[in-house]
Amino acid sequence: FPGLADVSISQDIPVEGEITVPVGSHSPDEDYSTLDEPVKDTIMRDLKAVGKKFVHVMYPRKSSALLRDWDLWGPLVLCVSLALMLQGGSADSKDDGGPQFAEVFVIIWFGAVVITLNSKLLGGTISFFQSLCVLGYCVMPLTVAMLVCRLVLLAGTGTVSFVIRLIVVGAMFGWSTLASTAFLADSQPPNRKALVVYPIFLFYFVISWMILTFTPQ
């Protein structure tokens, strides 16, 4: 075919046209199109995700939403508020009798990292940040307990107040442990669940102990 032998495009004829990729209405990656939405939508979406996770912690069911889209906003907010509330007396007293902000922060995050490493070493199928996410969100009942303790301590510091605080903190500690167990133990082989639950129990025990023995100066 002699006509097709020379199909080169000469230099002075510009090639023009349109290259469009049809964007379907059900495209799976919406990430590329979220740049144009208003900021309120972005924030509300994240806030709703965080709020949904809080609800999951309140009523622990075996759902994978907490695990699938992990985020660390909730744990950060909870950890900071707990550390602020556990802050002892005023800054100018030498022995303020309470843990400093940095200590609570370090204990919570270091403890969560250790538990995560432990569950991974025991053969867990959960990823590092998913486990951190679950452990952080399950601190929420203990934060609520801290709030209640502070309110009770406003009323007085006697035996009755101690008993009330003991009951509240104990109940919340049990709830935290159960909630995190419900999410984390499933990722383990069935006969090793106890090995994973025990460090979680210790971790929340230490936090509960810090809350229970908190007395404002």
């Binding site: 843990p99 432990n118 070493l121 101690f162 090995l195 460090p199 810090m210």
Partner: protein, 308 residues
């Protein structure tokens, strides 16, 4: 050979090799075929370096970069891999329970080397449990000492004992020709802390001196005997056995004494300062009496200084 434009400057340095490779990699990713991975002549023209010496230097640096990168990635995947520790955590709950109970039972047969399980889950959990018990004990004794130092001291003490004494005993075992590896030593000493946990848990809640001494002798003694028997079974020679076992027994028992008394002194200090009889723990709320806190700090410092 054109030696005029000898270019020994940064054109052929290590970092530039990295940049060049990065650029080449990016170009390769853009185009489907390896046009960018061209020969040396095009590289020379591409980067604008001329001269044989520049090219040689470039090649050497190039090779160094390749080798270094390969070694670094190999080292990283070897050491930063968490899977190295995985075999030491491969246990069943039944096994852990069995080993915990076994750690209190001294073996009788010391002429045959006893088997030590090289497992790190049990010891690690026991160390954390000991930390939690220490915190509990320190809390029931007083609420005036800053909690930050409480937490740091507890963790530092327990982990320091476990890791430090294990390393020291491993070193002694190496000197005395005992057949034991580092992981086995860590495991043995870790399980030996089970006796400490029980003793402290009981005696922090029931404050009787005589009870503590009984527990120290019986429970501490049993776990020490077990560790000593296992070590003896793996050592040859009387002097070596004596050295190893004497050191381990002394350190183990003294540690329990220290844990009880260093923190117990704090209790006594408060009790002596305030009033006589034992008060129930939960009524010992914080008292903002500077005298007490000073006495407490002084006593703790003295106790630490005495035991060190």
């Amino acid at each position: 050979i054109d030696m005029e434009n000898m270019d020994d400057t940064s054109g052929s340095s290590f970092e530039d090799m990295g940049e060049m490779h990065q650029r080449m990699k990016e170009e390769e990713e853009e185009e489907a075929d390896g046009e960018a991975g061209a020969g040396d002549e095009e590289d020379g023209e591409f980067l604008g370096m001329k001269g044989l010496r520049g090219q040689l230097g470039r090649q050497v640096a190039d090779q160094m970069w390749q080798v270094g990168k390969r070694q670094a990635s190999r080292a990283f995947s070897l050491y930063a891999n968490i899977d190295i520790l995985r075999p030491y955590f491969d246990v069943e709950p039944v096994q852990v329970r069995a080993r915990l109970l076994e750690s209190m039972i001294p073996v009788k047969m010391i002429n045959f080397p006893q088997k030590i399980a090289g497992e790190l889950y049990g010891p690690l959990m026991l160390v954390f449990t000991l930390v939690a018990i220490l915190l509990h004990g320190m809390k029931t004794s007083d609420t005036i000492i800053r909690e930050g130092t409480l937490m740091g001291t507890a963790i530092g003490t327990c982990f320091g004992y476990w890791l430090g004494v294990s390393s020291f005993m491993y070193f002694l075992a190496y000197l005395c020709n005992a057949q034991i590896t580092m992981v086995q030593m860590l495991s043995l000493l870790g399980y030996g802390l089970f006796g400490h946990c029980i003793t402290l848990f009981v005696t922090y809640n029931i404050h009787f001196h005589s009870l503590f001494y009984i527990f120290w002798l019986v429970v501490g003694g049993l776990s020490t005997l077990r560790m000593v028997a296992v070590l003896v079974s793996r050592t040859v020679g009387h002097t070596q056995r004596l050295i190893l076992c004497g050191t381990l027994a002394a350190l183990h028992m003294l540690f329990l004494l220290y844990l009880h008394f260093a923190y117990h002194k704090v209790v006594e200090g408060i009790l002596d300062t305030l009033e006589g009889p034992n008060m129930p723990p939960f009524q010992r709320v914080a008292r903002d009496i500077p005298v007490v806190s000073n006495a407490v700090l002084n006593t703790t410092a003295k106790a630490i200084a005495l035991t060190l």
